[in-house]
Symmetry: C2
Subunit: 309 residues, 2 copies
Amino acid sequence: MRKIKIIGCGAALPDHIVKFGDQTRYRMTEEQNLLDLVEKAVKEALSDSGLSIEKIDLILGGTATPLQAIPCNAALLHERIAKGLSIPAFDVNSSCTSFITAFDMASYLIDSGNYRNILIFSGDTASAALNPKQRESYELFSDTAVAFVVTACDGESGVINSKQCTFSEGVHDTEIRGGCGLMTAFKMTEANRDDYYFDMKGSRVLKLAAKKIPAFLNDFLEETGIAMEDIDMIIPHQASKALGLIMKRLGVPEDKYFDRVKDWGNMISAGIPMALYACIREGRIKRGNKIALFGTAAGLTINILYMIY
Amino acid sequence: MRKIKIIGCGAALPDHIVKFGDQTRYRMTEEQNLLDLVEKAVKEALSDSGLSIEKIDLILGGTATPLQAIPCNAALLHERIAKGLSIPAFDVNSSCTSFITAFDMASYLIDSGNYRNILIFSGDTASAALNPKQRESYELFSDTAVAFVVTACDGESGVINSKQCTFSEGVHDTEIRGGCGLMTAFKMTEANRDDYYFDMKGSRVLKLAAKKIPAFLNDFLEETGIAMEDIDMIIPHQASKALGLIMKRLGVPEDKYFDRVKDWGNMISAGIPMALYACIREGRIKRGNKIALFGTAAGLTINILYMIY
C-alpha cells in the first residue's frame, strides 16, 4: 500500500444555475473564470487541512482541458495561490479521470518519502465549448473546481491498488477538435466552426464503455484479489444519466455508489473529486472505509483507484 | 536511486527547413502534423529497444502544448501506435521541461515495481502559433518529436535526484493566452488576434532565469551532496542563444554541456530529449556516465534531473 492521507478538501460551484427539466447544471458567468473557482476551492482545502500554502511541496493539476496552450494550468494557479514561493507546479491529464491519475501519481511521490504534502486540483471550463446544437452534451455539463490536500501518514490510509486502461478505438467519440495544435484558432471558418465545440457521440461512448468496463473491473478484482463486497463505497465519475444503469449491470447496490448526476451533471475532471468531496462532507465515508474512485474518460480511458480513506 | 534504464530512443524532424542568418530551424509542412512526427520517433525508439508495443505498460506524454483540448495527447497517439490494445495513456505537463517531469514520474512508477516498460514522448507544434511580428520568437522555434523507451533494471542506471521549482512571477512572460479555456477560439477578433500567438518577453525571461538559476542549482547540489564536477554532461533545454552565456556564468566548461541552438533552435518540450537523443547517438554519453537533464520552462519553472545513464 502507498501510504497517503486526505487531510483537506474544498469545492467551488459557479454562480449561474441552469435547469433542464429536472436536471440542474452550474455555469460560470462572463465575469468568472476557472481560476477564480479553483482558488476558492484551494482556500477551503488548505483551511480544512490546517496547512498554510508554504507547507505544500507540489501543486498538481489533475485537469482535462488547458486554460492556455502555454503554460500548464498548475503554473497559472501558482500565480493565484503561491506567488513569491518556489513550489513546483505541473499538470497530469487523463481527461475526465485526471483526478484519479493525479491522486495515483501523488501516492507514488509521497510514498517515496521525497514529498510530504501535495495539493491536487481539478476543474474545467465546460461551458466555454458547449454546442447549443448538440442538446445531449449542452444539457449535461457543469463548471466546477475541487481541491484536495494529501499528506504522508503512518496510519492505515493509502492507495491499495490502481489500474488504468486506454482503448483508442473510442478516441474520436469525445473530443474538441479545434483550438489547439492540430487545428488552431486561426483556422476557424464558418464551415468548420462546430469543430471548435465539444463533440460527444453519446451512444457510441456508452456502447464502448458498456463493452469494456465489465472485463476491466473483473481483471482488476482478479489481479488484486479484491472482492466487490470489500469496497465500502464506489465514487464514480458522474458521466451521464446512464450511471445508475451501468452500476445496476455491474451488480452494485444503490447504497454502495454515489450518484448526483441529476443535481450536478458531468463536471469533467471535477466530477470524481466533487463526488469524493460530497461523500466526505456528508459523512457517507469514514476513516478506515475502503473506497474506489472509478470512471471513464475521453480516450476511451477507464480508471480505478482502490484506497483506504 | 530510482532504478530506470533508457533502452531506446527516436527522433523525427519535419521536412521544411528554414534559415534565419546562420540559424537553422525546422517547421512542419501543411500536410504534416505532430502525430506524424511522434509516430515516426516512437517507431525508431521501439525498434532501438527491441520491444514491441505490446510490451509497453504506459504511454506517457511529456508535452507542453495540447493537440486538442480533449482528449490528452497520449490518447491521440495511442490511436496511431496502439489501437486495439489497452495500454494506459496520459500526459504530464510542466511546459518546456515536460520531458524531465515525465521521466521523473516514470522513474517512480518503474521503481515501485508496478510498471516495467514505459514509452515517453515529447513534441509540440511550435509553428502553429508563431507570430511573424515577434521576430525574436518567430526565428527561434522548431517543430520536433522525440520518444524514449525506459525500463526496469538491476544495473547501475537510474535517477539519483531531481528538483523542480516554479516561480510564477514569470508566468505571463511566456504564454499563449488564446485558444483554450480562458480565451476560446470563439472570442478571437481582429483586435485581440495577437493573443492567440505565442508571446515571449525574452529579456524578462532571461532576467528572471539568470536571477533564479544559480540559487536553484546551489540548493540542488547542497541538498543532494553532488559537486558540479561529478556531472559528466549537462543536457540543457536549448532555450535560446543565451545558453552559452548562462553556462559560462555557472562555470560549466564548454565540453561539459550540449548546445545546438544554432542548428535546431528551441524545440519546446522536445528540446531536452532531442539533446539527450543526440548525445546518445553521437556517443557523447556512455553507460555509467552521470548526466543532468536541465532546463527552464514557461512558468517560470526550473527543472533538473541527475541520473546515471
